[in-house]
């Protein structure tokens, strides 16, 4: 039993000391080999870490900026987000100037030249470009970039590029190229102005309201991998601020009609230029502001630079007989004359060293004040003006808005010229009384005459509906237009009756009468200063102003034609007035009054 028990014990007993011995021998080896290994290890680690540290210091401390920039450039894309330019609309909300997402089609000639003919065929067929021009561009040597077409509407451009790609041709691509579209071409171009190929405003309201319209461009920065945005990559977006819309008081249809009627008159009479103004009498809102010659807003380079602006606010001219309305209004308001005041009008009137004539030579005329206006007698007006002081007449004319810009919001507006009363001498006063010696812009004159139509209250003309801020910070618009009384309501009424005689038989312009309406009007035929000699030449500025219905004025139309080959206010500008007024009355549903106003007698 014991023998049987022992054998299992022995190996146990023998095992234990063996284990102990092994442990001891291990402990004995540690101080020698292990410590050495540890030290070597530490050394290696220290060396590696110090290399890292040096590199870290180098990256973070020394070259930090350069590497940050490198990192940014690598896979990070910054895209400019252009702000949409505001739309310019007419009073009915129809866009006159609109921004459209456009694209430019560009080519890499190194890739396109092998298939140039095929690509050019597609491009020339789908876009309005010349085949041979495109062919030359597609084969241009030593370049990677050529424009094929610019400012193409996005849908069209993509369709073309897709077609080219579908056929397997490479090297054609599109890039953003915003298009400013003017659907009316030349309609209201004088007011709108234009934008150049870079999308920058060039003229007109585009320029004067540029800050309002252009908004603020934003940008987006994000990381890109394989052409797609990395979902969790760094990104930052500055949202673009879209430009605001601008609503004008212009009515596109009336503007169009005014421009066509004016063009016919200017070209038909061989004149230099012309302007037409249609105004809402009560509010001073301009329904149309036409100029000829004008330009196509989509192609401003196709017209001379002098035609790119609004002549109706820039050009200054002597108004001529139309100004007699202001002189007689002043006299009526001051109580110095009545429509029936009797005047003896001689055939000639010597003033100082000059002699004043009328249009037609005549003997002694026995005219009433009304007759002076109806026959447009210069002598009569000069005689009547003697009843008012220089200062008094000057104050009235100043109140009518002469000599000061109207502040419409267009660039380069002229203030006109109204010489200070202290410098007046009898001849100058006589001249001013019938519209020579003062200078106005078409809009200025229309606003002045509108005072009579509006019951004696001057309303600042406006081009912007509501209000809008100009680049210079000024707020303009129909909502902010100022009013002030110039003449009494009674004087305005009397003046209107006097003006009605102009369009009746016996007046200077019976051809401008519109059946069923009482039309108050006034012709103007002013001598033009010949710039070569600085004297009055043979050319004239002819004009016609009128408002209707005279018994309850709603619309005022003023037409000026500069330097026609002969003709008078009644024959050149009058027909345009009649057409425009008829059109506007129909369009705005202004019903005729149905009775003829009684007017004062012309003679005595």
């Amino acid at each position: 039993m014991t023998q049987r028990r022992r054998p299992p014990r022995r190996p146990v007993r023998q095992h234990v000391p063996q284990r102990k011995r092994r442990r001891r021998s291990l402990r004995r080896r540690v101080p020698g080999t292990s410590l050495l290994r540890l030290r070597i290890g530490f050394l290696v680690i220290a060396m590696v870490v110090s290399v890292f540290a040096v590199r870290l210091f180098e990256l973070q401390g020394v070259d930090a900026a350069a590497y940050v920039a490198k990192a940014r450039a690598e896979g990070v894309v910054t895209v400019k987000l252009p702000a949409t330019r505001g739309t310019i609309r007419d009073r009915n909300g129809i866009p006159l100037a609109d921004s459209v997402d456009g694209l430019m089609i560009v080519a890499d000639p190194t890739l396109t030249s092998p298939h140039a003919a095929a690509i050019a065929t597609i491009v020339a067929r789908r876009l309005h470009v010349d085949y041979f021009d495109v062919l030359a561009r597609l084969q241009a040597p030593d370049t990677h970039f050529q424009y094929i077409d610019r400012r193409v509407p996005a849908a069209k451009a993509r369709a073309v590029v897709d077609e080219i790609r579908a056929k397997g041709y490479k090297g054609i691509d599109v890039r953003r190229d915003p298009v400013r579209d003017y659907p009316g071409h030349d309609v209201a171009a004088n007011i709108l102005g234009f934008t150049n190929a870079m999308g920058q405003a060039g003229e007109g309201t585009e320029l004067t309201f540029d800050d309002l319209l252009s908004g603020r461009a934003g940008s987006a920065t994000y990381e890109v991998g394989g052409g797609n945005r990395i979902p969790l990559g760094d990104s930052s977006v500055v949202e673009p601020k879209a430009g605001k819309d601008l609503t004008l008081t212009i009515d596109q249809d009336v503007q169009w009609y005014a421009q066509r009627a004016l063009r016919n008159a200017v070209r038909g009479s061989g004149a230099e230029s012309g302007s037409a103004v249609v105004m809402d009498t009560g509010t001073g809102e301009l329904l149309a502001l036409a100029d000829y010659p004008t330009f196509d807003a989509n192609d401003p380079t196709g017209s001379p630079e002098s035609d790119l602006g609004a002549r109706s606010v820039r050009a200054m001219y002597e108004p001529g007989s139309v100004e007699k309305v202001l002189t007689t209004s002043a006299l009526l308001d001051a109580g110095l004359v009545t429509p029936r005041t009797r005047l003896r009008v001689p055939g000639v009137l010597p003033v100082q060293d000059r002699v004043i004539h009328d249009d037609v030579p005549h003997g002694m005329w026995h005219l009433t004040m009304t007759g002076v206006l109806a026959r447009s007698s210069n002598i009569g007006a000069a005689l009547a003006a003697r009843r008012i002081s220089d200062k008094g007449l000057y104050a009235y004319l100043h109140d009518f808005g002469l000599g000061q810009p109207t502040g419409l919001g267009l660039r380069g507006e002229t203030a006109g010229s109204l010489p200070p009363w202290k410098s007046w001498r009898p001849i100058r006063k006589a001249n001013i009384a019938f519209g020579q010696g003062v200078a106005v812009s078409a809009v200025q004159m229309a606003a002045a005459i509108n005072t009579v139509a509006n019951g004696g209250v001057y309303v600042e003309p406006s081009l912007v509906k509501g209000k809008a801020r100009l680049n210079d910070g000024r707020v303009v618009g129909s909502a902010t237009s100022q009013r002030h009384r110039v003449i009494s309501k009674h004087a305005a009424r009397m003046e209107t009756k006097m003006m009605e005689t102009v369009t009746k038989d016996g007046g200077t312009a019976p051809n401008t009468a519109i059946a069923g309406y009482n039309i108050a009007g006034k012709t103007g035929t002013a001598e033009r200063v010949d710039p070569r000699c600085g004297c009055y030449g043979s050319k004239h500025t002819v004009s016609f102003v009128g408002f209707a219905p005279a018994d309850h004025p709603r619309l005022l139309v003023y037409v000026v034609v500069a330097a026609p080959d002969g003709g008078f206010g009644s024959t050149v500008a009058g027909p345009v007035f009649k057409r425009l007024m008829s059109y506007a009355l129909t369009k705005y549903g202004v019903a005729p009054s149905g009775h003829r106003d009684k007017t004062p007698p012309l003679t005595w």
Partner: protein, 221 residues
Amino acid sequence: MSMTSVARTARGRVPRIAEQAVERARLAVVPRGVARPPRVPFVALVSVLLVGGVAGLLYVNTSMQQASFTTSALQERAQRLDAVQQSLQMQLERLRNPQRVALRARHLGMVPPPAPAFLRLDGHGGGRVLGHPAPAVAGDGIRVSPAPRAKPSNLRPAPVIVEPPQNKDKQNKDKQNSRQDGQARQNQTSQPREKHGAASTQDADRTGTKKPAPHQSHQPH
């Protein structure tokens, strides 16, 4: 084995006094090989976590990438649709352009009314005509497209004036006379001013004239 047997013999020898205290004070040898927990579940768990994590990450990454592609595609589509909308808008503007409408209207022989006239519809004085309606005539029309520029004189042939035949019946003669007079006058007026080009283009744009539409004559086809 040997230790436990020694302890057993020692217990036998020690008198059973303060047995409890002895029991408490006595050092017991903790058994050496504590049963190790099975390794398989742990490894399995870790592997599952690892694989799950990697798979989940991959899935999230893929789906986000997919979403990114979709975003790009949808954005592109939105841009295209926007472009289509804009070009349609442009087309609309072109179609309702007053110039185009006027040309179409004139083609139909329409002219602006010479004097405004209205028909009162409301109760009081209903049905009354306001203004003086007058039939529109060709002369009421206005030229809406610019007159053609003057051609160089060598491209404008001199007007050919033909003497009317003398021995036709009177009515016919009168008609022809007046027509030719009209033409001659036109040529005379257009020549010295050099404003208008060929008389034919001028005729084409003369206002109020109803041109026979070419498609009307082809209707039988």
